[in-house]
């Protein structure tokens, strides 16, 4: 697949290409180049040394090509880029040379001959994918005297594919016809079509090529074999009658990687590295600045606790460290020679454990990517035997469970094998199964009944249970919204599955590819919008939504769902306070003078602060609680040895801030946190406490702003000020 490639693009750069046609605002050249840059940038992105690109310009003012001195008819043809690997720099250089010329002479068929010659010289007799792509508006006369038969024969002989893409060429298949076509163009279209037909090439109109650009291309990946060896039932080493079939297992699905962004840094001396990428720097940062970024590597240092060292930690040499594992909080060191002691010894194998019924398996237990198992190639015996297993599973509606060790020493996995039978192909598909440890034991209440605190079971007439009407409305809606065969086939009938796996592209993957390519080609332009094809499945199909309108309205009516206002979330009405299951009036108990919280115990600070605030009868108690809490936080920090008290300080701070926000009081907290920040940074609270400030920042426990949802409306702090506060 990663075969060598040699592709030459022939671009018509004649003066007529600078015009705009058919209502387009772009010149024909810019429009056509959208296609060519897309193709070339694809090659650049792949950065394969064996993919070679050449570019020839026709109808150029200059003439510069290897054939110009040998024969006539090669005037006004320029080789803009010799065949060779393409990189970003070469692409940039090329961009400056692609511009319309004030020239009408130059024969495109001669350019094809030149391209054939260049490819032949470059690729010799070696194995290559050879291709010539011609882009023209067909406005310049073609020298009809050229021997098309000879050219076509040459191309066939060298296995070169010719692709002709014409600006506004007629194409019945795509459904395009240009009216009032100049006769030269009509004749040229005829000639080019003739040539393409003679050499079995491709002929099309540019509009089609451009419209296809948005359709994501799937990167082909070589089949990856994950296992080859016997699939057994029983142990052939132990029992002679055990079953053993030679098989090969491949990936069936494998997550395609979304191109990751790398961490980079501006190179020293170019731009001010201490400044973030804002303001004046931004302009020059835009786009491809190949020279101004450097990659980032990571260096690791190691620290251990040492009560005598400043800050309680000290560096240790990497060389002095041994390898090991954590068992709970105990470090278990394992010597180099015993390093494999915790590894389970296994030998490569693929062996059936047993069989289950298909209907008794829930696909949501799947742990991930699927595989496929086929018989060993050219092994009729294996193929026959595997086929009998596949058909048996199919007939008995069963799956097999198998244990697989893909290589000696690898950890065993359990997979579920399912039969697949097609006209000319059979295999076993498999998905990985969870082990006992992979399934967490979470208990949830039942959905179709309510169990009350007193232990009674309610199965109807409860606000959390659907009424009969709601169930019926849901029934109708789900049936109406069926997309099992909503996609139209070639005849326009709805017979095909909508959103079939094969039709849905990974949005972020193609989006990143699109914008990176776009930015590389057009560094000065803003990021283009997301192509519609990537968002097609973000919403239900519009025509379907129209169709189900009445069912949906009925369902909305019967569902009678009410949105909870943003502010009310997490807050409760005064009457709806938490109570013990018994309904004991805990408030009354806590309001009794002997139980009332007045002096907050630092060891029970959060509950007592909460209760003091909750039962505060007047402002002074409220303020007193806040003041005590502030004191406790400061004392926790001051007494903290190293970072030992930070967790508690942050927890108290979080509760303090939450209580203040909830009670719509921002001033007390804001002045406290301002003061605290100052003290932390100035080292007033028992030493260097910058680390704690970073943690507070990370926990977003800064100023309470006047955002109506997350903050307190009466706050005098704007969200901008609050954001500024986090910056040091």
């Amino acid at each position: 697949m990663a075969d060598k490639e040699a592709t030459i693009y022939i671009v018509d750069l004649g003066s007529s290409m600078s015009d705009c046609h058919n209502g387009r605002l772009e010149s024909d050249l810019d429009w056509s180049m959208r296609y060519i840059w897309d193709r070339i940038s694809n090659t650049v992105a792949a950065s394969r040394k064996t993919w070679n690109v050449g570019v020839i310009g026709v109808r150029t003012e200059d003439t510069s090509n290897p054939l110009q001195d040998q024969e006539d008819g090669y005037d006004n043809i320029s080789v803009l880029q010799e065949l060779g690997p393409m990189n970003l720099e070469a692409m940039r250089a090329l961009q400056s040379r692609i511009k319309p010329n004030d020239c009408d002479a130059g024969d495109i068929v001669s350019a094809i001959v030149l391209a054939i010659e260049m490819i032949r010289r470059f690729t010799k007799k070696l194995k290559y994918h050879r291709k010539i792509v011609l882009v023209t508006d067909g406005m310049a006369p073609i020298d009809g005297s050229d021997d098309f038969d000879e050219i076509a024969a040459k191309m066939k002989d060298s296995e070169i594919q010719l692709v002709v893409l014409g600006v506004d060429f007629d194409d019945a298949e795509f459904g395009f016809k240009e009216e009032d076509k100049p006769s030269t163009k009509r004749e040229n279209e005829r000639l080019l079509k003739l040539l393409v037909d003679q050499c079995d090439g491709l002929y099309g109109t540019m509009a089609e090529a451009i419209s296809n650009l948005e359709i994501p291309r799937i990167k082909p990946v070589r089949p990856y074999k994950t296992y080859d060896g016997p699939l057994t039932l029983g142990d052939p080493n132990e029992h002679k009658d055990a079953m053993s079939i030679s098989v090969e297992r491949y990936f069936k699905t494998h997550k395609a990687t979304i191109p990751p962004a790398s961490r980079v840094v501006s190179k020293v001396g170019e731009g001010d590295p201490s400044k973030p990428s804002e303001g004046a720097n931004d302009e020059e940062m835009q786009g491809v600045e190949s020279t101004s970024f450097a990659g980032i590597t990571q260096a690791r240092t190691y620290k251990v606790n040492d009560p005598d060292a400043p800050g309680g930690k000290r560096d240790v040499e990497f060389e002095s460290l041994a390898k090991g594992y954590e068992y709970g909080r105990t470090a278990v060191h394992i010597s180099e020679s015993e390093y494999n002691i915790t590894k389970l010894e296994t030998t490569k194998s693929f062996s059936i454990v047993g069989f289950i019924h298909q209907e008794k398996y829930n696909p949501f237990l799947n742990m991930g990517e699927a595989g496929m198992t086929v018989a060993q190639r050219f092994n009729d015996a294996a193929a026959l035997k595997l086929s009998s297993l596949i058909h048996s599973l199919h007939e008995l509606e069963s799956y097999a469970i198998a244990r697989i060790v893909i290589k000696d020493g690898k950890e065993p996995a359990l997979v579920l094998l399912a039969p697949h039978i097609d006209v000319d192909f059979e295999c076993l598909y498999d998905v990985p199964l969870p082990f006992a440890e992979d399934v967490r034991n979470y208990a949830f209440p039942p959905l179709d009944k309510i169990i009350t605190v007193s232990g009674n079971t309610i199965t109807k007439d409860h606000r959390n249970l659907p009424s009969k009407e709601l169930s019926e409305a849901m029934d109708d809606y789900v049936d109406a919204m069926d997309i099992s065969s909503w996609e139209k086939d070639d005849d326009g009938d709805r017979t095909m599955e909508y959103a079939a796996v094969e039709d849905v592209f990974t949005p972020p993957l193609h989006r990143v590819n699109q914008v990176v390519r776009h930015r590389a080609i057009y560094p000065d332009q803003p990021v283009p919008p997301t192509p519609a094809v990537l968002l097609k499945y973000a919403n239900p199909p519009e025509d379907l939504v129209i169709k189900v309108k009445s069912e949906l309205e009925d369902l909305i009516d019967k569902a009678n769902v009410k949105k909870v206002p943003a502010k009310a979330k997490g807050r409760r009405d005064k009457g709806d306070k938490p109570k013990p299951i018994s309904g004991l009036d805990i408030d009354a108990l806590l309001s009794q003078p002997e139980n009332k919280r007045t002096k907050i115990n630092p060891d029970n600070s959060i509950p007592e602060f909460k209760q003091m605030v909750e039962y505060a009868e007047d402002e002074s108690v409220f303020e007193d609680a806040a003041k005590q809490m502030g004191g406790i936080i400061k004392s926790l920090i001051t007494k903290s040895f190293g970072d030992s008290g930070y967790d508690r300080a942050i927890e108290n701070l979080g509760e303090f801030r939450r209580a203040m926000t909830e009670n719509e009081v921002s001033g007390i907290y804001n002045s406290f946190i301002r003061d605290l920040k100052r003290r932390l940074l100035s080292g007033e609270l028992g030493g260097d406490r910058r680390e704690l400030w970073w943690q507070i920042k990370g926990a977003r426990l800064g100023l309470i702003d006047n955002n109506p949802v997350t903050g307190v409306e009466s706050s005098t702090v704007t969200p901008e000020e609050a954001a500024e506060f986090y910056k040091k």
Partner: protein
């Protein structure tokens, strides 16, 4: 060093996946076991000749249960803390002193990530009763429950201040420890409210004997909170643990504790779930399925008094100048053709902006359209929540019932978090599954977001291999085998298959940490029961093999005839005239396409050497035989050897 770089890369990839919801609280769990030590809890079960009968007094069953949980948590939640309080004891102990604030409470294990000493001490107590005479002695005077709660409060406050989950498990057989003591009851209620306000949850695990009932209303309903607003997923009270029905008290307790053991952490909450334009409800998501792997290795510093884990810190260096790079200098750029393509921060954000968190149904499909192989990663369980939309639960339930009834799945566009990647998911309903033996729920009822692969995630298979289809007779023989080897219940029960590699890893680590003898043979429940297979199916497999050989023989003959016919054909007709579809072997570049059987014939006729070197190499690479640097004679020899061994 290479493995470390790998880990870091992995981290970045998994970043999006693993981070749950977070505010300033750490996503960690602190769990305290509080075990009641009393005469009745120490009472030995009645004598019995039954081998399976209970031998443990309740206190021991509780401690064994705690011991099991401690070992499990070291594997599954290595960052979480655990502690054990014994209450009602004669002795009092908290942090190495006779702490008089908490009389008759004995902190056996202080709240922390368990260390090997903790495991060791607990092990010797439950297995050998070491120290039991000192520790497991009930107090002569009545203890005060409020003290125990306040002690737990103090342990949480000082050790696990910012943990997102704090839980106190009380194991007792006394449903009314403070009858007629109003003052103590009140104090306990207040201490319980403190715990509630601290964010700690109390779970009660009652122990009963025979037909006796545990009456919550006498005392415990005053200290246990059920806050429907905060936790809609509260599963109700724990049933009482007792021996009987073939279950020991320990089994019963373990099963009950296990059902609550993992702190329920939501993967997302208040997620809008749009059933159609204009109809949205809110749901919570949970990672019920989660791959459990051994914790990565670390570096240990051995030069101090005690072995210590060295904590790594990463500094970033610029590749060109090797200078240290500050966090605010770091920018992100995409590699393109060997160079960097840069976007401003705002652009960077806009690129991958596909909308906010959502589950949006785009239609429904028949269940069979969900292809078996359309699997790409684990599913997320969702459960309704009234927090965002009142009425969510009934709508969710109606949808769940409809999907079950009509065997349909929803198809939805799902974004798990802000700036997250969109994923197309199938919404699959599940019925509640109950383990028949223990009665514990193994899978909850609800809906699952089952990620579907994208077109980009589908891999091409190998070139279509030779199809040799089975015969009915042969399939029948195989059917016999498949029928014989059905797993219990004809279903896969994950609980029956612990991960052997994971278990072995920790077993060895535990032995090393506790300085015990290292076991030499791993337990691996995933290895097929070879002997049983042999016993039950040996004969059937032999039958099947015989029939397969017969069919193969016939096939060989047919092929030979066909080849002859074809050879005749080619003499009479031009080559291109006809190509039979049924021909099994097919010429491909490299001149191979010979089946093993055909090669075997060639060996017998000694015509293998007539093939060209290129042909030989083609044939051999297809079979994965190494051909590097071999001369023709060697190639022939190696191929012959391979055919002998393999065909």
């Amino acid at each position: 060093m290479a493995d470390r770089a790998d880990y870091e890369r992995k981290d970045e990839e998994e970043e999006e996946d693993e981070i749950g919801e977070h505010d300033y609280k750490a996503q960690k769990d602190a769990l305290i076991f509080a075990i009641h030590v009393s005469d009745s809890m120490l009472e030995a079960p009645p004598e019995s000749d039954d081998k399976k009968a209970d031998k443990d007094p309740a206190v021991y069953a509780a401690l064994k249960c705690a011991y099991l949980v401690m070992q499990q948590r070291i594997i599954s939640n290595p960052k979480d803390m655990m502690g054990i309080i014994l209450f009602g004891t004669e002795q009092t102990k908290y942090r190495d002193e006779q702490n008089l604030s908490y009389p008759h409470c004995y902190v056996y294990t202080d709240l922390d990530i368990p260390a090997s000493e903790d495991v060791k001490a607990l092990k010797s107590l439950v297995e050998e009763g070491e120290g039991a005479g000192e520790v497991l002695v009930p107090s002569g005077e009545r203890f005060n429950m409020s003290n125990m709660l306040f002690l737990a409060n103090h342990m949480f406050t000082t050790r696990a201040a910012n943990f997102g989950s704090k839980r106190l498990f009380i194991i007792t057989d006394d449903d009314n420890p403070h009858a007629d003591e109003k003052q103590i009851q009140d104090n306990t209620a207040i201490r319980a409210k403190d715990l509630y306000d601290l964010g700690a949850i109390i779970e009660l695990f009652p122990v009963t004997r025979g037909d006796s009932k545990f009456d919550f209303s006498k005392f415990y309903d005053d200290i246990i909170y059920r806050d429907a607003v905060v936790d809609e997923t509260y599963a109700g009270r724990v049933t009482s643990s007792k021996s009987g029905n073939g279950l020991t008290l320990l089994n019963s307790l373990v099963s009950n504790v296990n059902s609550r053991q993992t702190a329920k952490r939501s993967y997302f909450s208040n997620m809008p779930f749009e059933l159609g334009p204009g109809l949205t409800i809110s749901v919570k998501g949970y990672n019920i399925i989660q791959k459990q792997a051994p914790a990565r290795s670390c570096y240990v510093w051995l030069d101090g008094e005690k072995a210590q884990i060295a904590v790594g810190e990463t500094a970033r260096l610029a590749q060109d100048s090797a200078r240290t790079v500050e966090a605010n200098e770091v920018k992100k750029a995409y590699k393109f053709g060997g160079e960097y393509v840069f976007f401003s921060e705002e652009e960077q954000k806009s690129i991958k902006q596909f909308g906010g968190p959502i589950i949006r149904i785009i239609g429904f499909k028949d269940r069979p359209l969900l292809k078996f192989w359309a699997s790409i990663k684990k599913s997320i369980y969702i459960f309704p929540s009234e927090v965002g939309y009142v009425g969510s639960t009934r709508v969710f339930t109606a949808l769940w019932q409809k999907l079950l009834k009509s065997k349909k799945v929803g198809i939805a566009w799902h974004i798990a978090r802000t700036n997250g990647n969109p994923q197309l998911v199938a919404i699959i309903p599940s019925r509640e599954e109950v383990d028949e033996k223990s009665g514990a729920k193994s899978l909850p009822a609800g809906l699952w977001l089952y990620p579907l692969p994208y077109a980009d995630d589908i891999r091409e298979g190998p070139e279509k291999p030779t199809l040799v289809r089975t015969t009915d007779q042969l399939t029948d023989k195989m059917n016999m085998i498949v029928r014989q080897l059905q797993l219990p219940g004809a279903a896969y029960n994950p609980a029956k298959y612990p991960n052997p590699a994971l278990q072995w890893h920790y077993k060895i680590l535990q032995a090393l940490a506790l300085e015990e003898e290292v076991p030499d043979k791993p337990e691996d429940g995933t290895i097929p029961k070879y002997r049983a297979i042999h016993k039950r199916c040996g004969g059937y497999i032999q039958d099947w093999s015989r029939v397969a050989d017969d069919v193969l023989g016939q096939l060989q003959e047919q092929k030979a005839i066909k080849r002859e016919l074809e050879d005749n054909d080619t003499e009479e007709q031009p080559r291109t005239a006809k190509k039979s579809r049924t021909v099994v072997s097919r010429a491909s570049p490299g001149g191979s396409g010979l089946s093993n059987a055909e090669l075997k014939e060639k060996i017998q006729d000694d015509t293998l050497k007539k093939l060209t070197v290129a042909d030989l190499k083609g044939i051999m690479t297809e079979r994965g035989i190494d051909v590097k640097g071999l001369k023709k004679a060697d190639l022939v020899e190696r191929l012959e050897q391979w055919i002998d061994d393999n065909a």
